[in-house]
Amino acid sequence: MRGDWGRFDVNFGNICREEEILVSNVSSNPSSRSCVVFRPMEPDLDGAPRLGTSANQLGVRQGDVALEDGLVLCEVKGKGLSVTGRISRLPRALWPQSIRDFAHLNPIYAGARNEILELYRLDGAPCSDSDLGDDLALCMPNPKHGAITPKQNVPLENFQEAIRRTRSRWSKAEPNGS
């Protein structure tokens, strides 16, 4: 395959740049910076993400977490409820069809095809290791991938319950003003 396939969108001389949509600092104060993170999930009847332990529900599977002596270890890199700061780095098969509305930001989203999932955003998560409510923390070693983990080592059910309590904080990502 030719190397120039990277030039997939030619806006007549200006190669479309990968924009980091929606990942924005909302405060100029570094100590209080917060981010928006995303997760594709199945919507429930009320529009909020469906609770559960399947791959695309609001909850974790046992394999998603680091367990030791029956406890979920806190803030282990890459372990927990997966989130991303870059929609474009989600697996394409998970791109909800609704993000085609984002195509004006990056034309690549015009190819989204997953009719089951919706893209949810969680506002106000801290950009670096710090609180996410009383029980949770966000480990975001890079903008592409991160995970919500327990702040302390806790039993799996406690972690699940803490995740469940965030349900109302997730909202569907919208292309404008999101």
Binding site: F8, R92, P107
Partner: protein, 325 residues
């Protein structure tokens, strides 16, 4: 990026699965078990692709929305004339990546079928080829543009290599049921049907089919002058049908000598002139020309596919030039 065997297979699998998904999504909205299954397959295949390759298939997915009538077309920074010029230039130089990129933003006055045809060419010509996606675009072009049904003929030709049962099914429909098919597509379809009959006919039980096919081909031949490549293909179909009917007639001698003269002169015009009157007489007498001639290799040297493709390429270019003329 290396197109080694394993990597090419990943792309081949992705191509087939994604094209199937697009087809299903064109048929109905909403999640189904099969769509979900295909998405799982795609997610698994993605793990074997680089980020650049993942971007490429995402754009392919976006392009496939064209055949679903739901393509998102973004505005261009260039005016119509300049963008059409660049598209024509990229097409002429076979810069397929640029062709695809430009098509996503090209002005709306380039005909829909032409855009689909150009995508067919791009995805069919790139390395690795993506035959299912290419065929889907060509099928769409053939359904969208009835003025130039060569798209259908090329689709049939390609599908004989990709999905022969589908090619045969569509050929049968065109031959036995359609009243509005153009001569090129009809003869291509007749050729595919004839080959199927020949493969299945062991004891002459398909005689009526052969006769029906022969009648259709002869009627087409008699309908008026045809381009040489179509006439040649029709001749082969008629001849092979007569072989299937076990009808050997003396006119073959005249046909043979005429063809030999034309072929030796290597003049297509002469060949066409020699063939046409003879073809009119095939109603009664055409016989086993193909077998007796023994000139298969010279016959094939005319490269019918090339002729067909050139016709459509020229048309695609004409549309592009017309867009900014």
């Amino acid at each position: 990026m290396e197109a080694n065997g394993a990597r090419a297979q990943v792309f081949a699998d992705y191509d087939e699965a994604l094209t199937r998904l697009a087809s299903l999504m064109a048929q109905s909205k909403g999640a189904t078990e099969e769509k979900t299954s295909i998405l799982s397959v795609l997610e698994g295949l993605e793990e074997f692709l680089t980020e650049e390759e993942q971007d490429f298939v995402a754009y392919l997915s976006a392009d496939l929305y064209q055949i679903e009538g739901d393509e998102i077309r973004l505005p261009s920074e260039l005016d119509e004339k300049e963008s059409a010029r660049r598209l024509a230039e990229a097409f002429a130089s076979k810069d397929w990546v640029s062709v695809l990129a430009l098509l996503r933003r090209v002005p709306p006055n380039v005909p829909e079928a032409t855009r689909a045809y150009l995508r067919y060419r791009a995805y069919g010509e790139m390395n690795p080829k993506l035959p299912h996606a290419a065929a889907a675009f060509l099928d769409y072009a053939s359904r969208t543009e009835t003025r130039v049904n060569s798209y259908k003929a090329i689709w049939l030709q390609d599908m004989t290599h990709i999905d022969r049962p589908s090619a045969l099914e569509e050929s049968r429909r065109l031959v036995w049921e359609s009243n509005s098919v153009d001569s090129r597509s009809l003869i291509m379809a007749a050729s595919i049907v004839q080959q199927d009959l020949a493969a299945r006919d062991r004891r002459g039980e398909l005689r009526r089919d052969f006769e029906g096919l022969l009648g259709i081909v002869l009627k087409t031949l008699a309908s008026g002058p045809l381009p040489l490549d179509i006439a040649s293909m029709a001749l082969l179909v008629a001849t092979n049908s007569l072989i299937g009917l076990n009808r050997i007639e003396p006119l073959i001698d005249a046909l043979t000598s005429s063809l030999n003269r034309a072929l030796e002169q290597d003049r297509k015009e002469a060949l066409g002139m020699q063939l046409m009157p003879l073809m009119r007489e095939l109603h009664a007498h055409l016989v086993d020309a193909y077998r007796r001639l023994g000139h298969q290799e010279r016959w094939e040297s005319y490269d019918l596919e090339l002729l067909v493709r050139n016709d459509v390429d020229n048309l695609a270019n004409a549309d592009l030039y017309a867009a900014y003329a």
